[in-house]
Amino acid sequence: MSQTISTVTSDAVPQPRAEVAEERCLFTPPIDIYDTEEGLVLLADLPGVNAESLDLQVQDNKLALFGRVAGSLPPNARLIHQEYPVGDFLRSFILSDDVDHERITAKLNNGVLEVFLPKATRTQPRRIQVNAE
């Protein structure tokens, strides 16, 4: 069981560059988490993010995702009606020791990130042979 996080340092989270952050929105993507026999599956909605513009990092016990949305509009496009803002995605999680950090895998399909977090295999007790002298 992981401990409650008391502080988060700014360098722990991949930040967009300062000059870009002033103009761009940053969103917390909605996620689903479900468990399977082998581990946990995390799904995150990242519309407009592709594999090249997604940064997924595991450092120590933290999993951080940052997805940059590339604007692919024609240069002369003029916004005449807006119902949603466009921005980048950022979210972080703390992983417990129950997750095997080395075997985490991820894939991105149709703007949905799927991260598989396998359960760490418990080491079996090993009997130590005691030899009589």
């Binding site: 989270v13 509009l73 024609p74 496009a77 003029r78 803002p85 149709n110």
Partner: protein, 148 residues
């Protein structure tokens, strides 16, 4: 359905959202934490030189589960987003993403060539191109003298 559902037996996640939000607020980055709209999906409409461009965010939608029709100036989008196959509800620790069927009709406030409307779905973003009706030259209407 509860938005957050946690099970206690094995809990490897601690969400950093609150801390991250606080951090981001302190550096004044706009962060609307919830994006709820009355209409789904929310759309943006752009005007280009020869066409209108409508965009919508539909992550996880397969093209075969989306239907786009245009008739009489009304654009109708209909689709269904399915959850992961074969995962029972009780397996979910967290459920924030929307699943289900939806439909939305939009009146396009400009004349477009309805037979040339095209749509593409890339990285969960739908783009619909609506070519403008070409400007026709104004036609002089002859005026006949009425009955004497």
């Amino acid at each position: 359905m509860a938005v957050f559902r946690w099970r206690q037996n094995w809990e490897p996640f601690r969400d950093l959202e609150q801390q991250v939000n606080r951090l981001l607020e302190s550096i004044r980055v706009p962060l609307p934490s919830i994006r709820l709209d009355r209409h789904f999906p929310p759309v943006n409409l752009f005007e280009c030189e020869n066409e209108f461009l409508l965009t919508a965010e539909l992550p996880g939608l397969q093209p075969e589960h989306l239907e786009v029709t245009m008739n009489g100036g009304v654009l109708t989008l209909r689709g269904e987003r399915r959850g992961p196959d074969g995962v029972p509800d009780e397996r979910f620790r967290r459920h924030e993403r929307m699943w289900g069927s939806w439909q939305r009709s939009l009146s396009i406030p400009h004349r477009v060539q309805e037979d040339k409307v095209s749509a593409e779905l890339t990285d969960g973003v739908l783009k619909i191109r609506l070519p403008k009706v070409e400007e026709t030259k104004s036609r002089q209407i002859p005026i006949n003298g009425g009955p004497q």
